[in-house]
């Protein structure tokens, strides 16, 4: 079942000189099985918007529907228990991986840390052990090697994987990732993104990824949402968005480097389409233009 956000508004520190209208009338519809990319400048409200999805941010006004969970606002006040969905079930459904998730590790062993969320939703015994093992393997770590090590002894990239495994062990159906590649080297970035694609195929069909890297969203996402200044400016497919130069300019969005290169080549007279979004596409275009058949 899909995610439906209707007319969502959010104001930080309402009624003080610091009041900040972080979300303005946001409407968004996300189908099951889609890979969404969310772009927008720092402070445009991306994190605020998606922290609503699993009720970490209380709705002030608007409605959010995630599968069978319906959440409405109460002017920012706490809802009575009977009027609100079961947060644990919701949070197990919508996994949230924050920016720099490695800073949330706390347990004595990797295994324990990964088990934390699953334990909290009441998974026990063999099933717990199995979920933990699978999650650690899924994020590409050597289970036998890392299971009893302290998470603080791992490398930065490994820590991030452990944190991701901790969310996966809860078997979410929607995964929200807030800048999952921030601070990684190019290879680490690619590894994490490929990992996300695997996770999408194997475990969690709907992915929402906040990112500042246009090449990433162009390559991996089905749909893109553009946020600016608390507003959801536009939703489009990567093709629709990145081929409209005027639109990109008006939204102050950069082109993916691949697309920029394709355009540059086209303007120098090479017969390639300026709509290439990924390296593979561009290579294919160039080969075609040069009359080489692979």
């Amino acid at each position: 079942m899909p995610i439906k956000i209707t007319d969502l508004n959010y104001v930080y520190s309402a009624g003080t000189p610091f009041a900040k209208h972080a979300l303005k009338n946001v409407d968004l519809y996300i189908e099951d099985g889609e890979f969404w990319g969310v772009i927008g400048h720092t402070g445009s409200g991306k994190s605020t918007l998606f922290s609503h999805l699993n009720a970490l941010t209380r709705i002030q006004s608007g409605v959010i529907q995630v599968d069978e969970f319906t959440m409405t606002g109460n002017g920012g006040k706490k809802l009575k228990r009977k009027n609100r969905p079961d947060f644990k079930a919701l949070r197990a459904r919508v996994g949230m991986v924050f920016q720099y998730p490695e800073y949330q590790l706390f347990a004595e062993s990797v295994e324990e840390d990964v088990a934390f969320g699953a334990k909290n939703i009441g998974i026990k015994g063999d099933e717990l052990a199995e979920r933990v093992e699978n999650a650690i393997k899924m994020v590409g770590l050597d289970y036998e090697e890392v299971r009893s090590r302290s998470p603080f002894d791992l490398s930065g990239g490994q820590k991030r994987r452990v944190a991701l495994a901790g969310v996966l062990a809860m078997h979410p159906k929607v995964l929200v990732l807030d800048e999952p590649t921030a601070g990684l080297d190019p290879r680490g970035k690619k590894e994490i993104l490929d990992l996300i694609t695997e996770i999408k195929a194997a475990l969690c069909p709907t992915i929402i990824m906040i990112s500042h890297n246009m090449d990433e969203v162009a390559r991996y996402c089905d749909k893109i949402a553009v946020m600016a200044d608390g507003e959801l400016k536009l939703t489009a497919t990567p093709k629709e968005l990145f081929t409209q130069t005027g639109l990109l300019e008006s939204l102050h969005i950069e082109m993916p480097q691949v697309t920029a290169l394709a355009c540059a080549l086209a303007s120098r007279g090479l017969d390639v389409s300026g709509a290439a979004l990924t390296e593979d596409e561009l290579v294919e275009e160039i080969l075609r233009a040069k009359g080489v058949t692979a």
Binding site: S13, P17, F18, F98, Q104, G117, G166
Partner: protein
């Protein structure tokens, strides 16, 4: 950067906000001393009018200033009740008696005096923190305490510790919130269960918080080292505190108030009769 307020600084521009923090600190000290000299209600009234004028000038909503009383409401009420109940006199007639409880007129007057004193004592300093950033306060304190460096007190070091601590409070709060959210997303439950369960639930927050605080302290030390920080020695200031005309004017008003209160108290020059006229 997120706009997180530390303490209760109210960010508007006003003559009171612009006063030199040293003058404000000294004025508040004088204000507190003055309140202890007050005996007559006219003195309280005078200070209250002075305070109201200052609040008006500071453009901080009066309610915001009064809100600081919430913290001491219980203390004030409690003190007043105790002082009414425990006042006793051999000579005066009680206004009202019930068993061993006797209430005297003088007891009520004393309680009112005590209550007013406490309330005014809280309001003055809270106007100071509402109109002065913690950083400015630290600078002011450092500058005022500088003479103590002569007797080898590490004033500069204390001031820098304080400003770093103040600077880190909002960062730590932000960090705590982030980590709590991350653990909540993993279904951690912070607000049900008995006190032990809740304390235990905080472990997944406190450990990452400690880890990142130590990391941050290390990084800060490196950053300061690499910019040649060597303590107070030879260090100049970017923002030097400088007295302006308004600072002298404010000092004059404050001294005048203090003087009037002393006159009322000790009947210097026989001028306390003025109070009797009002």
């Amino acid at each position: 950067m997120k706009d997180v307020t530390i303490g209760q600084y109210y960010p508007v521009s006003s003559p009171i906000h612009r006063l030199d923090p040293r003058i404000k600190l000294l004025a508040v000290i004088l204000y507190i001393v003055a309140i202890f000299f007050i005996q007559k209600f006219v003195g309280f009234a005078l200070v209250a009018v002075f305070l109201l004028a200052a609040v008006f000038l500071s453009r901080v909503p009066l309610l915001k200033v009064l809100r600081s009383l919430r913290a001491v409401l219980f203390l004030v009420t409690f003190t007043m009740i105790i002082s009414v109940l425990f006042y006793s006199s051999k000579t005066a007639e009680p206004l009202w008696a019930w068993g061993i409880i006797k209430i005297y007129k003088q007891g009520l007057i004393n309680a009112a005096r005590m209550g007013l004193r406490l309330i005014l004592l809280v309001l003055g300093p809270s106007l100071l923190t509402l109109t002065t950033t913690p950083t400015a306060l630290t600078d002011g304190l450092e500058s005022l305490l500088k003479p103590l460096a002569l007797i080898k007190l590490p004033i500069h070091e204390l001031a820098i510790i304080m400003s770093i601590a103040l600077r880190l409070i909002p960062t730590l709060m932000e960090e705590t919130e982030k980590i709590m959210n991350a653990q909540k997303a993993r279904c951690a439950d912070f607000d049900t269960g008995n006190i032990f369960k809740r304390a235990k639930a905080l472990i997944p927050v406190l450990i990452p918080l400690f880890v990142s605080s130590f990391r941050r302290a290390d990084e800060l030390a490196d950053a300061m080292d690499s910019r040649c920080y060597r303590g107070a020695k030879g260090r100049t200031r970017m923002k030097r505190l400088k007295l302006h005309f308004r600072d002298f004017a404010a000092s004059f008003v404050m001294l005048a108030l203090f003087f009037v209160i002393l006159v009322l108290r000790y009947n210097w020059f026989g001028w306390a009769f003025v109070a009797a006229l009002i």
